[in-house]
């Protein structure tokens, strides 16, 4: 049978039984000593078992009220006879029965409710994925069991998570308990006809206050219940702290998995880039070697005119320089990857002359590209390694030439800057997409969809950046796809 019909049945049956027993006793010629009086025990005990101390006391009181008009007149008439004494004893027994049995029932129900609440707290928190979810579940469970408004506040690092309330106002009962760690009972927090009791207790994990549990109710919140709530607060605190730590652990695990996946993807990319680099570098090395091999064979096997010998020697010299530059780049890259700075031999360098030399060499190598040079008249000497500086300029201007269509101008500027000289190389090439711009200085990186003819190992700009940094300078790249790219290198002047 469901609880509500049982309650209704008891509410009807107990008064009816009491009235019926009173009728029997009243009709019995033995008066207060009637055996039927013992039957009062049944409805009183039933009320005590069903409704606890309140029901037991009320039923006993009702039985006493009904029995009194039968007992007292006899006492008034005949004094304290054995019959009236039996009647008085029956009244006392009923009073004791209703109160004691009802009290025991109430205590037993309270203990049962406490244990059920603890189990409910554990199951509510156990399956929660996040701390917010655990809080919401826990609040729902507690609101249902405590028959009132419930709010939970939990500290999570610097944040305060709230379930069951909008915000935590300074000076509020919950804020006070959170600050002091002491439970607070407010007898009335209402302006309505019924008082509203408020009890706020700290949630404690080990010795730390991790939050608060607030209960509001238009009904009694007695000392016994408040003590039970304080004990519950300790359990809820531990459960929520465990949920918080579990959620944090899950979050860390997710973050770690993400980082591992990202690192794995990056390693795979680097691996692919290195494979591509080996292929490209082999080709880059083979080209000058093939040239050297071919021209040296010609010099060895054929008799050539002196002018032809000189021309071949120049070509071989150029290829040897190219080979040396590639080898230098590889060595520098190797040092960079080991975390070492490139080896530099700085001295005072005349920028104007250096720019002119580099541009002259590149003009000869790429006659279809007009390269304009603009140098300020009062340029200071740079404190730099001449070879490194030449490689920086060669790389930047070489790239500008390589990635520009034939006929498009490349402009090289040397300007006086605040603490030294700014070297600017501008082209009118296809430009670099915005997403690729932050990575163009990474070793082995090549912009996706780069000009197929513009071969390279993807190490030039990485070396340039390392060389500039080793000089205490900066490099900045701006690019607009379809318009062109501008590289600005700033290097310190001779102190």
């Amino acid at each position: 049978m469901a609880t509500a019909p049982r309650t209704t049945l008891a509410l009807v049956a107990v008064p009816v039984a009491l009235a019926a027993i009173t009728t029997f006793v009243a009709l019995d010629p033995r008066g207060p000593a009637s055996l039927a009086r013992h039957a009062y025990v049944v409805p009183v005990a039933a009320a005590a078992l069903r409704f606890g101390v309140l029901g037991g006391s009320l039923a006993a009181g009702a039985a006493m009220l009904l029995m009194a008009p039968l007992v007292l007149p006899v006492i008034e008439r005949s004094g304290l006879t054995p019959a009236t004494a039996e009647g008085l004893v029956s009244l006392a027994v009923l009073a004791a029965l209703g109160t004691l049995v009802g009290g025991a029932m109430t205590r037993a129900r309270r203990e049962q409710a406490r244990h059920e609440a603890l189990v409910a707290v554990r199951s509510a928190v156990a399956g929660a994925g996040t701390l917010d979810e655990a809080l919401a579940r826990l609040r729902a469970v507690l609101a249902d069991r405590l028959e009132g408004d419930v709010a939970l506040i939990v500290r999570d690092g610097d944040r305060t998570r709230i379930a069951g309330g909008g915000h935590l106002a300074p000076g509020s009962a919950a804020a006070r308990v959170l600050a002091t760690g002491r439970a607070l009972f407010v007898v009335d927090a209402s302006v309505g006809p019924r008082p509203r009791r408020v009890f706020v207790t700290p949630l404690v994990a080990e010795t730390d206050v991790v939050g608060v549990l607030a209960v509001e109710r238009e009904g009694e919140l007695g000392a016994g219940e408040r003590a039970a709530l304080e004990a519950l607060g300790a359990h809820v605190g531990v459960a929520l702290e465990n949920a918080r730590l579990a959620a944090r652990q899950r979050r860390f695990a997710d973050e770690l998995a993400g980082k591992v996946a990202s690192a794995t993807a990056r390693l795979a990319e680097i691996d692919r880039a290195k494979s591509a680099f080996v292929a490209i570098a082999s080709h880059e090395l083979r080209t000058p070697l093939t040239a050297l091999q071919g021209f040296s064979e010609l010099l060895t096997l054929r008799r050539l005119a002196p002018e032809e010998v000189v021309r071949f020697a120049r070509i071989m010299h150029g290829e040897a320089r190219r080979l040396a530059r590639i080898v230098d780049d590889l060595l520098d890259l190797s040092r960079i990857e080991q975390g070492l700075a490139p080896a530099l031999y700085p001295t005072a360098v005349d920028v104007r002359a250096l720019v002119a030399d580099v541009v002259e060499v590149l003009r000869r190598a790429a006659p279809n590209h007009p390269i304009a040079v603009e140098c300020d008249a009062d340029l200071p000497a740079l404190h730099a390694d001449p070879d490194a500086l030449e490689r920086i300029l060669t790389n930047l201007v070489g790239n500008a030439v390589k990635y520009s269509p034939p006929g498009r101008a490349v402009r090289v500027q040397a300007r006086r800057a605040a603490a030294g000289v700014a070297l600017v190389v501008e082209d009118q090439g296809r430009g670099i997409p915005a997403h690729a711009l932050p990575r163009v200085f990474d070793a082995y990186y090549r912009v996706p969809g780069a000009v197929p003819a513009a071969r390279g190992a993807g190490i030039g700009l990485a070396v340039v950046r390392a060389l500039v940094a080793a000089h205490g300078g900066t490099i900045h790249l701006e690019s607009t796809p379809g318009v062109g790219t501008r590289a600005t290198v700033t290097l310190p002047a001779v102190p």
Partner: protein, 269 residues
């Protein structure tokens, strides 16, 4: 939620805050002067009855109204004036009993404006709550009639009709309404906002019982005193619960009126 969003209040105001001390002192003074004048034969005995009704019930009603309206004295003055008029009219003419309708009607008017919500005069009283109050009053009154008639051999319904109607009018217009307004609406209402329900009920009921034990109209025999303590304590405690349960003073008021009607049926002289 209050515990999170509202600043935590300091301790509530003292239990007896807003008591109209000047008015109470004036009522006590008037009663004393009247008693002295009656003793010297300057005023008739009826004048002391009128002063007793006005001062006794007026003090309770004025205090309850002052507590409910934040210390205002004028509602109490009006109540005292109406009670005085009713007592004078009831003694002046048989139909003067009708004047006892004035205090409850005036209170109903004030309550309709929402000024007496603190006493439990709120709108939307449920019929089942009122029925529960009436049923309890009838049960207790019936028990009183059975016990008194069987135990003390007190006659039932022996009073003349005019006297009975006068007593019922007095209960409805002065006695019950003043007692319920003060002991339940005001005193219990305040006490339960400071202490637990049990403690508030104990304070309110003890004061209620003491008030009737001090009433000169209560028969002086031990049996009546014990009976008064028993029944009034039960009535007071249950009316406290009725107020708490229903949120309204009306169910308890109904129960008390029914109980006192039963009491008036006894010829306890």
């Amino acid at each position: 939620m209050w515990a999170l969003e509202q600043p935590c209040r300091e301790r509530p105001a003292p239990l007896l805050a807003d008591t109209p001390a000047t008015l109470l002192a004036a009522l006590a003074g008037a009663l004393a002067v009247t008693a002295a004048l009656v003793a010297q034969g300057v005023l008739p005995r009826a004048a002391l009855d009128v002063a007793g009704v006005a001062a006794g019930h007026g003090a309770l009603l004025a205090t309850a109204l002052a507590w409910a309206t934040g210390g205002r004295a004028w509602p109490g003055l009006v109540a005292v004036a109406l009670l005085t008029l009713a007592a004078v009219a009831a003694r002046g003419h048989p139909l003067g009993l009708v004047a006892y309708a004035a205090p409850p009607l005036w209170l109903a008017r004030v309550a309709a404006r929402g000024h007496l919500a603190a006493l439990g005069f709120v709108g939307g009283v449920r019929a089942r709550h009122v029925a529960a109050g009436a049923a309890f009053g009838a049960l207790l009154g019936g028990h009183l009639l059975v016990s008194a008639s069987r135990t003390l051999r007190v006659a039932i319904g022996g009073r003349p009709l005019a006297e009975l109607l006068g007593a019922l009018a007095y209960d409805a217009g002065a006695n019950v309404i003043a007692a319920e307004c003060f002991f339940r609406g005001a005193l219990f209402g305040r006490a339960q906002r400071r202490w637990s329900f049990a403690a508030a009920t104990a304070v309110s009921t003890a004061a209620y019982v003491l008030r009737y034990l001090a009433d000169p109209l209560l028969p002086g025999s031990v049996a009546f005193v014990v009976g008064a303590v028993f029944y009034l304590a039960l009535l007071g405690a249950v009316n406290c619960w009725l107020l708490r349960w229903s949120g309204s003073l009306v169910p308890g008021l109904t129960g008390a009126l029914v109980f006192f009607a039963a009491w008036r049926l006894l010829d306890a002289r």
